[in-house]
């Protein structure tokens, strides 16, 4: 569904991505993990063309995304830190995005209801707490039935109950055959979500494996342990 070919990204002297090539097929739930500043968010921003690649290209359903914007109609994006116009209310933000996307289909109101957005609909974005802002981001990402979901640290800042709601929603969407890309540090949360794992370190992809092969290779049954074992044994590099 999304193909990344020899992607490079440099900002001045720092390199954020170095020769990244990946294929992200539909129907998979991919965990993008790695230490801080390893290029996860940059990779995501490249897919959304919020950052322009220095070299290389990205194909969405076989079409180069360069100069195209309509492919974003198929993407729901939940940023790491949602930043919204301060003076707009929650309902205004939702309405505006709906307007921009010219969305005509039925809205997926599941998260909207589960997070109790109705209650805060008339509140200004400025007055919301970090966690509530994350809920708005999550609601917006799922609202327009996108075929691809890109979630950057989705559970950071969410309370346990809301995290669980989001988790269940992610599993549900995965079953529908959507492509889901998640970055997270909390490896324990990813256990029964993921089908594939991409591990990045210092701007390069270290490995890209399905959960099955990962477990088979390491003999572990949990994502966090499996990755530890793999990194310790040096098999990754």
């Amino acid at each position: 569904m999304i193909e990344i070919i020899n992607l490079y990204n440099t900002f001045g002297k720092t390199t954020a991505l170095k020769d990244v090539s990946l294929y992200l097929p539909a129907g998979s739930c991919i965990g993008l993990i790695g230490p801080n500043a390893c290029g996860k968010t940059t990779l995501i921003k490249n897919i959304l063309s919020m950052v322009v690649p220095t070299k290389g290209e990205i194909l969405f359903e076989g079409k180069n995304i360069k100069g195209d914007v309509l492919y974003k109609n198929n993407i729901g994006y939940m940023p790491q830190i949602g930043r919204y116009p301060e003076n707009m209310t929650v309902s205004q933000v939702i309405k505006m995005i709906k307007n921009i996307r010219k969305y005509k289909g039925t809205e997926d109101k599941e998260l909207y209801d589960a997070f109790g957005m109705e209650k805060i609909a008339e509140k200004k974005m400025r007055t919301l707490s970090g966690g509530t802002t994350q809920k708005v981001s999550a609601t917006l990402a799922f609202l327009f039935n996108p075929t691809v979901l890109i979630l950057d640290e989705p559970t950071a800042g969410l309370d346990p109950i809301s995290s669980e709601i989001l988790r269940e929603k992610i599993i549900k969407e995965r079953e529908k055959g959507k492509l889901i890309l998640i970055t997270s540090h909390l490896l324990s949360e990813l256990d029964d979500l993921l089908t594939n794992i991409i591990f990045m370190e210092e701007s390069v992809v270290v490995f890209n494996k399905s959960i099955k092969t990962l477990f088979e290779e390491t003999g572990e049954k949990r994502v966090s342990k499996a990755i530890h074992t793999l990194l310790k044994s040096g098999a990754a590099s």
Binding site: V52, Y71, I97, I100
Partner: protein, 255 residues
């Protein structure tokens, strides 16, 4: 794009600062024209407001608005909207809102108090200046990631175009007073949007005669239909060049 533009215009118009700006301009123009019997003198007083305050408010307001919209821009870029339409919407939104304030605050009183042709030139000068400085503000925003630096740069540019440029031209004129420098003077003045606006307005009232030989040359060059068109064209360049430059930079900007 239409949706974003209307959103931005309504957002700016809801802002109390623009309302205050309109009221201040209104206050200035009504009091000047009610106190001053001589229309020419009235226009001269208005000229200072149009040449100094209008560009200053336009450039600072537009610049701060851009910095405050960083989140909004980020949100839009992650959605299926072309970057060029985001930028166009911001430009049109700011230009329309600030020009509306100018037209209500100064345009209407001027239409009431002075002759239609002169009024038209004064209003056109104000509209073009407002738009030029919105365009400059957007360029400053894209050049500087830091808010303080961006606002500083836009104030510096305003200071340079509104005050320092004239000082430099005057200095140059005194230094080379013994030489026939009228043509160079004309060219130098034509390069500055504020000077262009000033000359066009002054040519509408009789003070051009007071400016001596240079005034006569100005009248000869700028007072003709060709002169009007050239001034208009140069002003357009002042709007388009900073704007297109900022658009180019925005298309490549990493958010």
């Amino acid at each position: 794009m239409k949706g974003i533009t209307t959103f931005i215009i309504s957002d700016i118009l809801k802002n109390r600062i623009v309302l205050l700006y309109t009221l201040v301009l209104c206050g200035f123009s009504w009091s000047i024209f009610s106190l001053e019997d001589n229309v020419s003198k009235g226009i001269l007083s208005m000229l200072n407001i149009i040449l100094l305050i209008v560009p200053l408010v336009s450039v600072i307001f537009a610049n701060i608005y851009m910095y405050n919209s960083t989140e909004f821009i980020e949100l839009l870029v992650s959605q299926p909207v072309k970057r060029s339409s985001i930028w166009n919407s911001l430009f049109i939104g700011l230009a329309v809102a600030l020009n509306a304030a100018f037209i209500i605050g100064i345009g209407i009183p001027i239409m009431i108090f002075i002759a239609p042709k002169t009024a038209l030139v004064v209003i056109l000068a104000g509209i073009l200046l407002t738009t030029v400085f919105v365009s400059i503000a957007m360029l400053c925003f894209i050049l500087m990631r830091d808010k303080a630096k961006g606002i500083g740069l836009s104030i510096m540019l305003w200071l340079f175009l509104s005050l320092m440029y004239d000082g430099l031209v005057l200095f140059f004129m005194f230094q080379y007073a013994d030489y026939p420098i009228e043509k160079i003077m004309v060219i130098l003045s034509a390069l500055n949007p504020v000077d262009l606006a000033r000359i066009q307005v002054l040519l509408q009232i009789d003070v051009a005669a007071l400016m001596g030989y240079t005034g006569a040359i100005f009248k000869k060059l700028f007072g003709t239909p060709v002169g009007y068109m050239t001034s208009l064209l140069l002003m357009m360049f002042w709007i388009l060049i900073p704007y297109l430059l900022s658009l180019r930079l925005f298309k490549k900007k990493d958010l």
